[in-house]
Every structure is written in C-alpha cells, then in structure tokens.
C-alpha cells in the first residue's frame, strides 16, 4: 500500500521561474525506506515539503496517507501523519522548553496526558536528551537541537517520517544510533521513511534510492543497482559508498571480493 503517491508533480516557487520540480511521479510504500539524494538545489527539500503539504503542487497531485495534499481541510491531518524533521532545526522549535517542544505535536494530536507524558519521556531518553528537559531549545548545541527535533517526530509516531538531512550535525555514534532506530521503526512498525541525505553510507542501507537532478528524477532503484553505474551517480554529484570503492580497489589489486556496499558485507567477505 502506497503511503505517498506523487503523479506528474511540477512546482515553482515563483511563477515564470524554472520549476524547482518537474513532472515528478513516484510513490513510497508502507514500511519502505527511501533515500532522496542529489546536488544542492536539485529539489530534495522541496519534494519533502510537498509530501507533507507545506507546499502544494501547481500541476499534478500528491496523496499522502490517502489524502490529497492540496485539500486545505486535510493539511493538518496530513502533517500529523507525515512527520517531518527539517534541515535547519531552528525552523522547528516552537516551545520554550525541550520537553514542551517534544510534546507539542502530541498535544495538537489530542493524545491523552498520561500517554503523552510517557511517549515524551521515552523519546527524550531514546535521543539522549535526559537532563535537558527544562532547557530552552534555542540555547542548545547544534546536534542537541537536531536531537530535539528527532525526539518530537519519534514521540508523534506518524505513519510516514520525512527526514531532511536530519542527522547532519550528529556525531558518528549518534548518527548511527538514529539510523538504527529509524530502521527499526520502519521494519518493525511499518513506518515509511523518506531520508533526504548526502551520506552514501546511509543511502546504501535503504530499500530504494531516488536521484534528483535539476528538479527531475534521473535515477531510481535499489542502491545496489544504482551503484552499478558510477558515471551516472557522479553526474548527479554523488559518489560510491566507501566500502564499495574499497571493494573495487581490492579487485584491482587482484583480491577476490564481491562488490560490497556495506562495511559489514566487505568485512565478512574478507574474513571468510
């Protein structure tokens, strides 16, 4: 079942300008993890904003969780069911304390107080924010702000999570931890995940990659299939993930290894 369906979507910020997105047709299934990648300015954030109806297409339609994003009566519900974490966390801070900020979406969704309290506590603990509950979100470090934004979406438990470079300021172990958490939500609870990312290691782990170039989808498929065509990736400003680069460099040195896309796969092959 598709939770996001975009058909023939074109969007311009200002009339007369080259559209930021051209004729986009794609879908995201329940429980699927999709990476959206591409050059700076290729339209990734615009696409994410269209998915949760912060923007509305000029041509074509988008249905998110079965609802037309262009229908003003549906917009609040869509944003609750498709939770987004923005590229810049300051854009998302709404409350005077960390705990209130994480609770904000739930309050609006009418979640009963005891359950809300429990979900907020869990999300705060899970994102390593314990002890910062009463701090002002604006007075946190960059990575701490990103954790607050992530905790908010985790507490909300939406059907779709849209992550717009949401872990760009996290240290490597926190980033890995969030990736694992999101993967679990996706695999075990059927939440659909759309990650906008420049991190090829992360992209390699997803079910499907979508490459945008100047507002158009120029490649789409499993990471492994896309990595078969490095020239095409490079055109879109992308690279092969390091484990795969290393596999190819080893093959060039006469070492027999498969074309591994993840560290684990490469290490296992070498240790056989």
């Amino acid at each position: 079942m598709a939770v996001i369906e975009a058909e023939g979507v074109t969007f311009s910020y200002n009339s007369g300008e080259t559209p930021a997105l051209h004729d986009i047709t794609m879908s995201v299934e329940k429980g699927e993890w999709v990476a959206v990648t591409g050059h700076n300015g290729s339209g990734k954030s615009t696409l994410a904003r269209l998915f949760n109806s912060l923007l509305v297409p000029q041509q074509g339609t988008i249905r998110t969780c079965g609802r037309n994003t262009a229908d003003p009566a549906e917009q609040v519900r869509i944003r609750r069911r498709a939770g987004m974490v923005f590229q810049h966390p300051d854009n998302q801070i709404v409350a005077p304390t960390v705990a209130d900020d994480v609770a904000f979406g739930l309050e609006n969704a009418g979640v009963p107080a005891p359950e809300m309290k429990q979900r907020v506590e869990h999300a705060i603990g899970r994102l390593g924010l314990t002890g910062l509950e009463d701090q002002e979100p604006h007075r946190l470090s960059g990575g701490q702000k990103q954790r607050v934004a992530l905790a908010g979406v985790l507490a909300l438990r939406p059907e779709v999570i849209l992550l717009d470079e949401a872990t760009s300021m996290l240290d490597p172990s926190a980033r890995e931890d969030v990736r694992r958490l999101m993967k679990t939500l996706c695999r075990e609870e059927g939440i659909a995940l759309v990650s906008v990312t420049h991190d090829m290691t992360e992209a390699a782990e997803t079910d499907r990659m979508i490459v945008l170039d100047q507002g158009r989808i120029t490649a789409e498929g499993s990471p492994r299939s896309l990595f078969q065509d490095p020239a095409r990736l490079e055109e879109a400003g992308l690279r092969l993930p390091v484990p795969l680069q290393l596999s190819l460099a080893l093959q060039a040195r006469g070492i027999q290894v498969p074309e591994a896309v993840s560290e684990e796969e490469l290490v296992n092959a070498l240790c056989r």
């Binding site: 590229q87 960059g142 992308l238 240790c271």
Partner: protein, 291 residues
C-alpha cells in the same frame, strides 16, 4: 596566525539556575599555517570554543592570544574589531550568519565593512560566489530562499571575500553534496597555500575528512580537551577507540573489523581508499603460499 588558548573556561548564563559550563580550563595551541580539526561529541563545547576565538564571546576565565591580540573577560569589543577583520568564520548553520536582502549584498558586506568601495566589493563578491559554485543567477535572490547547501556556499563565499588570515569553520561541509564537499575543501586548501601563515580551524563530525585533511586534531569531551595529536597518533590509540570517544574513519573501521583469529590485525591508520586497499591486500596475502 597562531592561536594560544590558556586556561580558558566559559559559562553560559553564569550564576543562574541554568548555568552551563561549556568550557573548562581549556589550554591548547593552534600553530600557524596548519589545518586543525576540532572533534568531539554533541555538546562537548566545540562551537563555544570557536565563538571565543572569534571574539564573539569572551572567556569567563583565562585568555586567548590570536596573532598578538589578547582576548580576556575584560577585552572591549572595539579592540576586537581589528582582530576580527582578519578572521573568517562560518557558523554551524548558515542561517545564523546570512542577513542581507540579496545574496550579493550579503557577500559584499564584509569587504564594504572593512573599507572597500562598492565596485571592488562587488568584484570580490562575484569572484567568491563563482568559486563556491553558486550560479550568478542566484546573486539577486534573498539568501533565505536558497536551498540548504546553497546557503552554506553563500556563507562560505562571504567569508572568502574577506580575504581572511584565519578561517574558523563550524561544520563547513555539512549539507553539501559530495562533489561540493570536495570542491569546498579544495578551495580552503588553495586559500591556505596562498600564504604561509594562513591557519584553518574546522569543527567536523566527518572523521574521513578529519583523517585526510587535518595536521592536528583536538578531541573535546565535556568542555575539556581530552587529547590532541596527528591523525596517525590518535587513530592508533586503542584506549580512546575502545572507550568510544574517538570514532573511526570508514576505512579504519573496515580495517579494525578484520578478523584476527589466524593473523595479526593490520594497523588501522590508513585513511584513503587507496592506502586502505594496499594495506588490506598485503594483509590478505600474508600467510598465502607465495606471499
């Protein structure tokens, strides 16, 4: 420009119930002409340190010497003006530093502020925009309508247009596409090579970048300097790695993962794909009949 930080502490909202001791007795020297990486977990005090070096905040205790200028709790803003004109700072989120009505005006601001006429400032601005890969068609746009990566490039252009002697960069490659990350790092190296005393300090969570570019790494932990050294000297410290305070670059992680039942593990301090491939290849061949 050399920077010496001596016994510096910094507390946000001192005295109140929400006081945060962000830096505690930090002593460290950043040698002139080198590339320094400041790394460490979220909230460890990296951005705070950079803000002190730029004179944006003053130390609660201790002192900083930057190219002969001294910054202490008693320094006056006026005295810092002269220092600041030689420092280019890129903030962690580019939204924090962009402010003008158009991208062009934003990039021109620094040169104008430090005495260039409009024509010269505009020339410098266009040159800087081009270098950072921003098309001239964006020059007249409001910086706040740029994409995240375009904003980062605009912020970097603004800093390069200043022709600084010292660059303080807070996560300069975050949000850039992989091509852009390489281009921008190349720009910084070019800038550095133009004169012998140009010093670059960057904060980053990207260990691949740190391992490949830094001459000197400072690892922060809870507001203190935990340790410092060259990439090879740090990533051969098993204590730090085991404790989990020092994340590994991707190539090192793969090297560290190789099984060690039948042969000694390879050293993990290979930071480029080619170096790591050489090391793994010779490790694999070890013990083979004709090796």
């Amino acid at each position: 420009m050399q920077i010496t930080v001596t016994n510096v502490s910094y507390t946000y909202m001192p005295g109140g119930p929400f006081a945060v001791e962000a830096l505690r007795d930090v002593t460290v020297t950043f040698a002139s002409g080198e590339t320094h990486a400041i790394i460490g977990a979220t909230g460890s005090g990296k951005s705070t340190l950079l803000q002190l070096l730029n004179g944006l905040e003053k130390p609660s205790e201790g002192s900083i010497d930057a190219g002969g200028h001294t910054i202490t709790a008693d320094s006056r803003q006026k005295d810092l003006f002269d220092l600041r004109r030689h420092i280019g700072m890129v903030f962690q989120f580019p939204e924090q530093q962009l402010f003008a009505e158009t991208v062009l005006e934003d990039v021109m601001f620094g040169p104008l502020n430090y005495g260039d006429d409009r024509e010269t400032a505009e020339k410098k601005a266009y040159r800087a925009l081009e270098k950072t890969g921003l098309p001239p068609s964006l020059a007249e746009r409001s910086p706040f309508t740029l994409s995240g990566g375009q904003m980062r490039r605009a912020a970097i252009a603004g800093v390069l247009a200043l022709e600084p002697k010292l660059l303080l960069l807070d996560e300069p490659t975050a949000g850039l596409d992989p091509d852009g990350q390489e281009e921008i790092m190349r720009l910084f190296s070019e800038w550095q090579q133009e004169e012998a005393d140009r010093t670059l300090l960057l904060i980053t969570h990207d260990m691949n970048l740190t391992a490949r570019k830094a001459d000197h790494i400072v690892l922060m932990e809870s507001g203190r300097v935990r340790t410092e050294g060259t990439p090879s000297s740090l990533w051969t410290r098993e204590d730090l790695i085991e404790e989990g305070v020092l994340p590994l670059p991707e190539t090192s992680r793969i090297l560290a993962g190789l099984c060690t039942e039948s042969k000694a593990p390879p050293a993990v301090d290979a930071f480029t794909v080619e170096d790591a491939a050489d090391r793994i290849a010779s490790w694999v061949r070890k013990g083979e009949p004709d090796a």
